[in-house]
C-alpha cells in the first residue's frame, strides 16, 4: 500500500521480480497488472525550464510544510489544493502569493471565504487574473515572471508550487517490455487476458484488445478468466473446478464457512 511498482523483470524460469519505488521486492510466478489509467502525476504548467528547477525551488507536492518556514512562497492554481495550501502556509511562510488565471476559484466555499479574508487582512497577496510565464535563477529558483493584466513583472521567491491537479500517466509500465497500444497494454482477449509476456496479465482499464470497453462489468469478467488461467499456470498438475458461492458458500477471513441460510422444509397441511 502506498507504493508503486517501478520495475518488472524475469527473475528465473518460473518467477518475476517486481520492485517498488520504496525498494520492496515481490517474487511471484504470475503478475497481474490492474493499474487503471496508470499512476496519478502532477499536471505541470508549460513554463520553459520548469523541470530544471524541480526540487530546486519548484515542487508540485507538499510533503513537509515546515520546509516553507520563513520562505517566500508562490502558489499557482484555482482549485482546492491551491486554496488549502495558501491558507495553511500563510501561518508558516514569510509570505504567500496566490496566482490564478481568473478571479473565480473552484473550491469549497469555506476555503474561498478564508482566502478572501486573508487577502482583506493583507496576510497574503492575491494576483488574479495572472499567470506565471517564466522562472529565473541560476541553480536555484530566485524569482518568477508573472503576467498580470497584460503587464509582466518579476516576483522574488524561494518556492514556486504549481497546483493544477493530477493526471493519470501509464508511467513505468510502458518500459517493461509489454506490447503497448493506444496507451494501454495489449492482451489476448480470446483466452485469458495475458500480455505478450507469458505469465503477465493485464485486466481492467489498463488493458486493450479489439472491442475493449472500459466498464467495471468487463473488468470483473476479465479478472475471473485471468484467475482461472493463473491457477493453471501456478498449479499445472491440479484440477480447478468453478464453484458458486451461492451453492457452497465461501471461507471467511476468520476461517469459518459463510453461506446463505437454507430454506425450511416443512409440510403444509
Amino acid at each position: 500500500m502506498g507504493e508503486s511498482a517501478i520495475s518488472l523483470v524475469k527473475a528465473d524460469d518460473n518467477n518475476f521480480l517486481v520492485t517498488t519505488n520504496k525498494g520492496t521486492q515481490h517474487l511471484a510466478p504470475v503478475v497481474v497488472i490492474a493499474g487503471g489509467l496508470g499512476t496519478f502525476e502532477p499536471r505541470k504548467p508549460p513554463i520553459e525550464g520548469l523541470e530544471n528547477f524541480e526540487g530546486k525551488g519548484v515542487n508540485y507536492i507538499i510533503k513537509d510544510p515546515e520546509v516553507y518556514h520563513n520562505k517566500k512562497v508562490i502558489i499557482a492554481g484555482g482549485g482546492d489544493s491551491a486554496l488549502d495550501w495558501t491558507i495553511f502556509l500563510e501561518n508558516i511562510a514569510a509570505s504567500v502569493t496566490l496566482i490564478h488565471r481568473r478571479n473565480e476559484f473552484r473550491g469549497a466555499l469555506d476555503s474561498v471565504e478564508k482566502v478572501q479574508q486573508l487577502k482583506n487582512k493583507g496576510l497574503i497577496q492575491l494576483l488574479t487574473p495572472a499567470e506565471v510565464i517564466a522562472l529565473e535563477g541560476d541553480d536555484f529558483l530566485d524569482s518568477v515572471i508573472v503576467n498580470h493584466l497584460g503587464d509582466s513583472k518579476s516576483i522574488e521567491c524561494d518556492s514556486f508550487i504549481p497546483l493544477f491537479g493530477l493526471t493519470p500517466k501509464l508511467g513505468p509500465i510502458a518500459n517493461w517490455g509489454l506490447e503497448i497500444k493506444k496507451n494501454a497494454i495489449l492482451v489476448d482477449n480470446s483466452l485469458d487476458y495475458q500480455t505478450n509476456i507469458p505469465g503477465i496479465y493485464a485486466i481492467g482499464d489498463v488493458n486493450t484488445y479489439p472491442g475493449k470497453l472500459k466498464l467495471i462489468l468487463c473488468g470483473f469478467h476479465e479478472a475471473t478468466l485471468m484467475c482461472q488461467s493463473a491457477f493453471k499456470r501456478i498449479h499445472p498438475d491440479r484440477k480447478n473446478v468453478l464453484k458458486y458461492t451461492t451453492v457452497s458458500g465461501v471461507a471467511g477471513f476468520d476461517g469459518s464457512l459463510k453461506e446463505a441460510s437454507k430454506s425450511f422444509i416443512k409440510a403444509i397441511k
Binding site: P46, G78, G79
Partner: protein, 107 residues
C-alpha cells in the same frame, strides 16, 4: 431520420479530417473524435473535469457559451486561447454543421 452533419477537425500534426457526425445519438465533439480514433483521451469521461479534449474553434459558428464548469476547467488548463473549448461540452447539432476545429496540444 436526421441527416449527419460534417465537422472539419485539424489534428495535432496539422492534418485535416472530415468527420461525419450523427445527430440522433446525443454525441459531443470529444465522443465524435474518439469514434474516429483521433488522439483525444477524454480522460474524465466528459464531465469537464480534465482538459484532454481541449480544442480551438476556428470557424464563426455560434456555439452555446461555456458553462461555469467548463470555464473553471479552462482556467486551469494549459495552452488556452480565447477560442478554446472543451470538446465534451459541444453537443452535435445543426447549428455547428461545417464547424472547423483544431485540437489543442496534449498536456
Amino acid at each position: 431520420m436526421l441527416k449527419d452533419i460534417t465537422i472539419h477537425l485539424i489534428d495535432r500534426e496539422g492534418i485535416s479530417h472530415t468527420l461525419s457526425a450523427p445527430l440522433d445519438m446525443q454525441l459531443n465533439l470529444m465522443e465524435i473524435c474518439k469514434a474516429h480514433e483521433l488522439p483525444v483521451e477524454g480522460t474524465c469521461g466528459g464531465m469537464a473535469m480534465c482538459a484532454s479534449c481541449q480544442c480551438y474553434i476556428e470557424s464563426s459558428h455560434s456555439i452555446l457559451e461555456r458553462s461555469a464548469d467548463e470555464e473553471a476547467m479552462l482556467s486551469e488548463a494549459f495552452y488556452v486561447k480565447d477560442n478554446s473549448r472543451l470538446g465534451c461540452q459541444i453537443q452535435m447539432s445543426n447549428a455547428i454543421d461545417g464547424l472547423i476545429v483544431r485540437l489543442a496540444p496534449s498536456e
